[in-house]
């Protein structure tokens, strides 16, 4: 599994396309049979309490893309704080198990693992 991480609109989708994945291969924030899960942060935000339980299914994907959501002021609302923490922790776990981790910044992919 390749984990792709980067801020909103940092070039994650374009990078996935460069790997040969088209729109038909990418699920958007939902778990289904597609090879790639795009928008992991949306899936986590939908139910932060169950974030860790997503791990086995995510590890079976060819690629998972997640927006960086933890770089900003700590949100006032508890649900938002809960979601960003759960997203961060899940990404740490995914990165530890991923074959490759790619970080996108200004459209530039940097391989930070693998």
């Amino acid at each position: 599994m390749i984990l792709i991480i980067g801020g909103a609109a940092s070039g994650k989708r374009t990078y996935l396309e460069s790997l040969g994945y088209g729109p038909q291969d990418m699920a958007d924030g939902v778990l289904d049979e597609k090879k790639v899960l795009y928008g992991l942060e949306k899936l986590v935000a939908a139910d932060p309490e169950r974030a860790e339980a997503l791990l086995p299914a995510l590890l079976k994907k060819e690629a998972v893309a997640c927006s960086e959501v933890g770089s900003g002021v700590i949100p006032v609302r508890y649900e938002q704080r809960r979601a960003r923490e759960a997203t961060g922790r899940l990404c740490v776990q995914l990165a530890a198990r991923a074959e490759k981790v790619v970080r996108l910044l200004a459209g530039i992919p940097t391989v930070i693992k693998g």
Partner: protein
């Protein structure tokens, strides 16, 4: 040796900071700046305590004025967590306010550096969402941004943690 660790929330800064700290000379101090004011803080503190358990840290709770903190013993390693809380505390709960938060937090880091062989400082990047915050919150972002820049300039090594992976921004890669 001064090491600064930055990154978003829950990106693995604490775990990496602890990993570096336990490799440093003893004694090991953990300087906790988070003031517990509700259940969520208590849970967070409990989680961090659990992570540090059996690693040999002596915990020192210090919410403000790290510039006057005297460690029990000179030398060794200290892990300061974190500048985000410390800055907010200097703004909101510091009883004496003649000193500006930036100056006081930076002086705090310098004070600890003088007393330790290895000092590891954890901070956060809070300026990367650019939302339309209140004047007060914008002041906090400015203070912490300035503190981060000053501490990074003082530091021997700076790492950004991304999904638990340390990216070296300054100094040598471990």
């Amino acid at each position: 040796m001064l090491i600064l660790l930055t990154g978003g929330s829950a990106c693995g800064k604490s775990s990496y900071g602890e990993k570096l700290a336990v490799q440093g000379p003893k004694p090991l101090y953990y300087i906790a700046a988070m003031q517990p004011y509700d259940d969520e803080c208590l849970k967070k503190i409990a989680r961090h305590r659990e992570l540090r358990r059996d690693k040999g840290f002596e915990t020192i709770e210090r919410y403000t004025s790290v510039d006057t903190l005297q460690l029990p013993q000179k030398g060794g390693t200290a892990l300061l967590e974190c500048l985000c809380n410390l800055t907010a505390n200097e703004m909101y709960i510091q009883p004496e306010k003649p000193m500006d938060p930036v100056e006081r937090v930076v002086a705090g880091v310098e004070n600890l550096r003088q007393q330790t062989d290895t000092l590891i400082v954890i901070t956060n990047d809070v300026g990367s969402d650019n939302e339309a915050y209140s004047e007060e919150t914008r002041a906090y972002i400015r203070y912490l941004g300035e503190i981060n820049a000053q501490v990074a300039a003082m530091a021997d090594r700076v790492y950004e943690l991304v999904a638990g992976i340390p990216l070296c921004l300054k100094g040598e890669t471990v």
